[in-house]
């Protein structure tokens, strides 16, 4: 029985956004990364090809974190002691891009030093995130933005409370911003409007709609991303941005990944469980529309890479 496959016809398209400047563009990156450009729902390749392979970015910190799971410490080892060696290790582990996440303890000088060290150690496209406290983010990111002028970094976290400063410095220094809102379609849209109103070209915005980990609110992130992608395909211009999610950060915050003792026996093997926590969360979010996933564990990266290859092969 010949079955007529129903195909959605959309009018909208997610904007194509590129970050990381090569020598040709005035930067020092070995490649630029392009995300977005989607004209249909994720991986519905019988309707239209998924134009760009989703990106696996790895989270590294400006200084050795003290609250990371020992499983992560085991795998990254001494590389975690300084951002340059961590960046190299992440690149060797197969990252497409790096997220240098600054901390509250950093001064602007520390932040600039860390950024430069990472830029020198690895030629991968780079995103630099502040610790997530408005004033501190402004202070650190402005310094970083100026010091890395022309590299086409992605600067985050750009929120409703601090977008002005971060957008202004991104505009002045040729960077992009990662616009974060707490799991809400309208808030995401509103922030994108505010940012574009300031004059930052729309192809220099990536949305971070926020997610929760498996067991800790993933369903909200999952549905908000589905709704944002639907809105963008239906032609809502202020939702037509590629999305990134900090899955590693969320998944490794969960008790399931973080600790191995004093937990129910039914949770099974700790390490295997922790990796599943990160990969299962990532799988669901890739399929609800994430273009960039920020991970923490090399084994998760490997598995997600294989999954992405299968999704792209269609």
């Amino acid at each position: 029985m010949p079955v007529e496959i129903p195909k959605d016809k959309w009018t909208g398209k997610v904007r194509e956004v590129s970050f990381g400047a090569t020598a040709a563009d005035g930067g020092t990156r070995s490649k630029s990364i392009v995300v977005g450009g989607d004209t249909t729902l994720p991986y519905m390749q019988f309707e239209a090809p998924t134009p760009h392979t989703p990106v696996i970015a790895v989270e590294i910190k400006s200084r050795r974190p003290e609250d990371w799971s020992t499983l992560l410490e085991e795998t990254w080892g001494d590389a975690m002691n300084d951002p340059a060696s961590w960046a190299k290790a992440a690149e060797a582990a197969g990252a497409d891009a790096l997220v240098l996440w600054l901390t509250l303890a950093d001064t602007p000088e520390d932040a600039v030093k860390a950024t430069k060290a990472v830029l020198a150690a690895s030629a991968l496209p780079l995103m630099v995130f502040g610790p997530g406290q408005v004033e501190k983010d402004n202070e650190l990111l402005v310094a970083v933005s100026e010091a890395a002028k022309g590299e086409k970094l992605v600067l985050g976290i750009c929120e409703d409370k601090n977008y002005r400063t971060i957008v202004a410095t991104a505009m002045a220094n040729g960077h992009l911003v990662s616009a974060r809102t707490p799991m809400d379609v309208n808030l995401a849209k509103q922030l994108n409007i505010l940012i574009t109103d300031m004059g930052l070209p729309a192809n220099r915005i990536i949305m971070d709609p926020t997610t929760g980990a498996l067991g800790y609110g993933i369903e909200y992130g999952y549905s908000v991303m589905e709704r944002l992608r639907l809105a963008s395909l239906q032609g809502d211009g202020m939702t037509q941005f590629p999305m990134m999610v900090t899955v590693g950060f969320e998944a490794w915050k969960a008790k399931e990944s973080k600790v191995g003792t004093g937990v129910p026996e039914a949770w099974g093997d700790w390490k295997a469980r922790a990796i599943h926590w990160e990969t299962l969360t990532t799988t669901a979010l890739l399929e609800s529309g994430a273009s960039i996933v920020v991970l923490r564990h090399p084994e998760s990266m490997k598995r997600i890479r294989a999954a992405i290859n299968e999704l792209m092969a269609a």
Binding site: G217, A266, I304, A307
Partner: protein, 454 residues
């Protein structure tokens, strides 16, 4: 999908061309056939109220009111599992209803079948107050090519059945082998897997004889639709579809196509889908995809608790009604037999929040009163940001649940994330000592042992 009022109207006396002589006769109690059609679409009246609907129209209307994805139930002697009856493509449109059954595969040639199954069968894991288990087992004949031995398969099924009372899926491509297995399950409803282009007649006859749902397998939708159509001709109605893809790209496309077609009332594919995640390169990732993207049954390779737990949680999350976050009842909860001098910990009634805190305190062995405020099922910070968890509400809960009558030392501990509330709360509760706890629940036991002990 149900017919619209206009579509229904065309099937009523007034909508026929030429109109039926009784058109708009009002005998149904409604002024016109059109108005009756509208009420029918809104399910406000019964079709039987109109005495003049043709038999043909009746069949069409009955068909259209059937759910777009047929409900399939598998039954074992101890439990049953349902799949189907879904109504939407995206969970935010309504909700997803019947959680996909998670089955563990057992190969007939495997050693120690009963012991392996017993382990998986006994598995139980708690997530925010709910106990989750596996839903059943899939027993697979040694080879799918049809050379396996019916007696051996039957023995394997018996061994599985000796160790679990959950529903089974019987997997073989030879109807004789399946029949031998099914004979070991009197009175049950297993899923028979499965019919393909080569064996469908024999499988159809067996399914008919056993009155059991039958899985149909093919790697393309044309053949799948063909198979269910031909098998319907044998009088079968209950199917499960296996689009037989092991690669993520192909499966997300096919599963989505099947769900879309089913919701458009394409009856030949209006059945739950089964995913053999066990045959994919990464079964965890394949199973996660299947859970989020429309599978009704998911078969896993082995019993691996750390994976199963993650998948069970994902399934719960995806199938949570987006309109109602999972909540616990507000009130004062006793943990580890609190005494009058034990501290009062304050939290919200979002299940995830409540259990994060309750589990930590319980695990520490330290006694405490846990006061769960009505924050409309929101987490601490969400509720705080939404104005549902403020000093006024907390004070109201303390008074409302008469906490003062239970304690000798009037001392409450706020979650660290809402330290800002402490000043206002002091004003609301002048005779109470207001303490600010750590931000994360994991640090509560340490805090209770040290900071709170002076």
């Amino acid at each position: 999908m149900a017919l619209t009022g206009i579509e229904i109207f065309k099937l009523l006396p007034g909508g026929q061309r030429p109109p039926h002589p009784k058109a708009n006769c009002k005998e149904c109690g409604i002024p016109t056939c059109m108005a009756f059609a509208m009420k029918l679409a809104a399910k406000q009246v019964e079709l039987a109220a109109c005495p003049y609907v043709s038999e043909e129209s009746k069949t069409k209307l009955a068909e259209s009111s059937a759910p777009p994805i047929r409900l399939i139930t598998l039954k074992g002697p101890g439990s049953s599992i349902k799949a189907g009856n879904e109504v939407c493509l995206f969970r935010h449109e309504k909700t997803f209803y019947n959680k996909p059954g998670l089955f563990v595969r057992v190969k007939a040639s495997q050693a120690n079948i009963a012991a392996e199954v017993a382990k998986a069968d006994a598995y139980k894991v708690n997530y925010v107050g709910m106990d989750f288990t596996v839903d059943g087992f899939a027993v697979e004949a040694d080879t799918l090519s049809g050379t396996s031995d019916p007696t051996k398969f039957a023995d394997a099924v018996k061994a599985v059945r000796s160790a679990t009372k959950r529903p089974l899926i019987l997997v073989a491509k030879d109807a004789k082998v399946l029949e031998a297995g099914a004979a070991a399950l009197p009175g049950e409803t297993p899923l028979l897997y499965g019919a393909d282009s080569a064996n469908w007649e024999a499988m159809g006859d067996l399914a008919k004889k056993l009155n059991a749902p039958l899985a149909v397998c093919a790697d393309n939708l044309d053949t799948l639709a063909d198979l269910t159509d031909k098998l319907k001709g044998k009088g079968l109605e209950d199917f499960v579809i296996d689009p037989s893809s092991t690669k993520l790209g192909a499966s997300i496309a096919k599963y989505t196509q099947i769900r879309r077609l089913a919701l458009k009332n394409f009856r030949a594919l209006g059945f739950p889908v089964i995913s053999f995640a066990c045959n994919a390169a990464d079964e965890g990732i394949a199973a996660a995809q299947a859970i989020a993207k429309y599978a009704g049954f998911v078969v896993l390779d082995k019993f691996v608790p750390e994976l199963l737990y993650g998948l069970l949680v994902l399934r719960e999350n995806i199938y949570t009604d987006p309109q109602k976050p999972i909540q616990v009842t507000p009130g004062i909860y006793e943990i580890n037999n609190p005494k009058p001098e034990s501290p009062v910990l304050i939290t919200t009634n979002f299940s995830i929040t409540y259990f994060a805190v309750a589990n930590e305190v319980e695990g520490s062995g330290l006694p405490a009163w846990l006061l769960v405020c009505d924050a409309e099922g929101m987490s601490v910070l969400t509720a705080w940001a939404a104005g549902k968890f403020d000093s006024e509400r907390i004070a109201k809960a303390i008074k409302g649940f008469n906490v003062a009558s239970k304690v000798s030392r009037k001392r409450v501990v706020l979650p660290g994330h809402v330290a800002v509330l402490s000043g206002e709360l002091e004003a609301e509760l002048p005779d109470w000592e207001i303490r600010v706890g750590p931000r994360e629940a994991v640090d509560l036991p340490g805090y209770m042992k040290t900071a709170l002990n002076n």
